[in-house]
């Protein structure tokens, strides 16, 4: 039988926990709203440039370009976007699971990594895969400059050294507050077979580049994967805050339940003590009066 005192101190400590989880829930929800807005604002550009690049790759398929060229894959690079911190439900675990499954389906491919976010870095280290670049501490209100070291690695490994034949990005897409999905996309080479929309045949042959295709592609290609990578990082932030908000909401609800249970036990115990004391007193009094 626990003592009244020990129950009292447990109630107190659970109440403290509840206060903390409640505060974390509110912080996450405020950040989530901002991050969600930013995701909505940045999606159109990322979508358009993705679509545009693939259309160009299709129209340019007869011109050799290292960014469009599909090579047999020996080594693939993965840009792994995860959260810096924990306490955000299972989003990282789900992402790593989908990544593991993806790699298992391609046993002949060597995978190398650039990570954005501490959890992903730890995962890659633990699994013993080569790590070519590490970024963490990206701010949710930050700018594209913060992820440029990652794109630098991508350019180096894919374009300059031609060491990676493919580049993928893994991240958690924000769908709603209740739902965040692990996703992956092929960043490079830009493969027009991914194109969702049919390119009208009327475009072929009369699509002009001004000034020249080389000048335009030189500007456009780096911008393409910078923008896409950065937008995916923002998606991940919105997912992180939503997941944390929900996790903390559940923790707060659990704490409430525990407090309720403990208070009940506490009151029962207190009542039992009082009853016992009264019966002790009355039986004592009876013993005296009979004596």
């Amino acid at each position: 039988m626990p003592s009244l005192r020990s129950i009292r101190s447990r109630i107190k400590s659970v109440k403290n926990t509840r206060q903390i989880t409640k505060a974390m829930e509110m912080v996450a929800s405020a950040k989530m709203r901002k991050a969600q807005q930013r995701v909505m604002d940045t999606r159109p550009y990322a979508e358009k440039i993705y679509e545009l690049m693939h259309r160009i790759a299709y129209l340019e398929r007869s011109f050799p370009n290292p960014y469009f060229e599909v090579r047999p894959v020996k080594t693939a690079g993965v840009v792994l976007v995860s959260t810096d911190r924990g306490l955000c439900g299972a989003i990282n675990a789900n992402l790593f699971r989908s990544l593991t499954r993806f790699m298992k389906e391609r046993p002949e491919v060597n995978f190398e990594f650039v990570t954005i976010g501490r959890n992903g870095r730890d995962f890659v280290r633990r699994s013993g895969f080569p790590l070519q670049g590490v970024i963490h501490g990206v701010k949710d209100r930050g700018t594209i400059e913060e992820i440029l070291p990652a794109t630098q690695v991508v350019i180096e490994e894919f374009y300059e050294k031609r060491h990676w034949e493919e580049v993928w990005i893994f991240y958690t897409q924000f769908e709603s507050i209740m739902s965040q999905k692990p996703r992956h996309e092929k960043l490079l080479p830009i493969d027009p077979r991914i194109l969702t929309e049919e390119v009208p045949s009327s475009l072929t042959g009369e699509y002009l580049f001004e000034p020249g295709r080389r000048e335009i592609l030189e500007v456009l290609i780096p911008r393409y994967f910078e923008t896409v990578i950065f937008q995916r990082v923002l998606e991940n932030f919105a997912s992180e805050y939503s997941a944390r908000m929900i996790a903390m909401k559940n923790a707060t609800a659990n704490a409430k339940e525990v407090i309720y249970g403990l208070t009940l036990t506490y009151n029962k115990l207190r009542q039992a003590n009082i009853t016992r004391e009264i019966s002790e007193i009355s039986s004592g009094a009876e013993a005296i009066s009979q004596g």
Partner: protein, 143 residues
Amino acid sequence: MAFMLSLMTQEKNLLSEEVDYIQAKGVDGEFGVLTGHTPFLTLLDIGEFLVRKKDSTYSYFVAGGVVEVLPDRVTVLADTIERAEEIDERRAEEARQNALEALKQPISPESRVGYEQVLKREGVRLRIFARRQSARHPGSLEE
């Protein structure tokens, strides 16, 4: 006949709607687009971007980026866009003066190029702002 115009930066989708005509400044010069234009892709210079819809004309300051023109739609992926009425005249003037001052000093060729770029950008900003003040284009699309 109208076509679909999407005007956006990395940070924001400014406009997605049917318009009748646009005019922009590409690196190879100004061009105008009506529905059914030959498909082409070009890079944007610093300049004014005009949109005409019915009887109204809207003016934007645009710096850098890319435009894709297709027969039935135009997509502008710009580095910077500002609505003409949102241009901060004082800030533009200040930046221009600072650049002018800096250019008087002996400086490295790289920073010279940088300041000349600033000078050009702020000059265009101020011109668009001034033109808008004098012409008083009819209000913005939101109105």
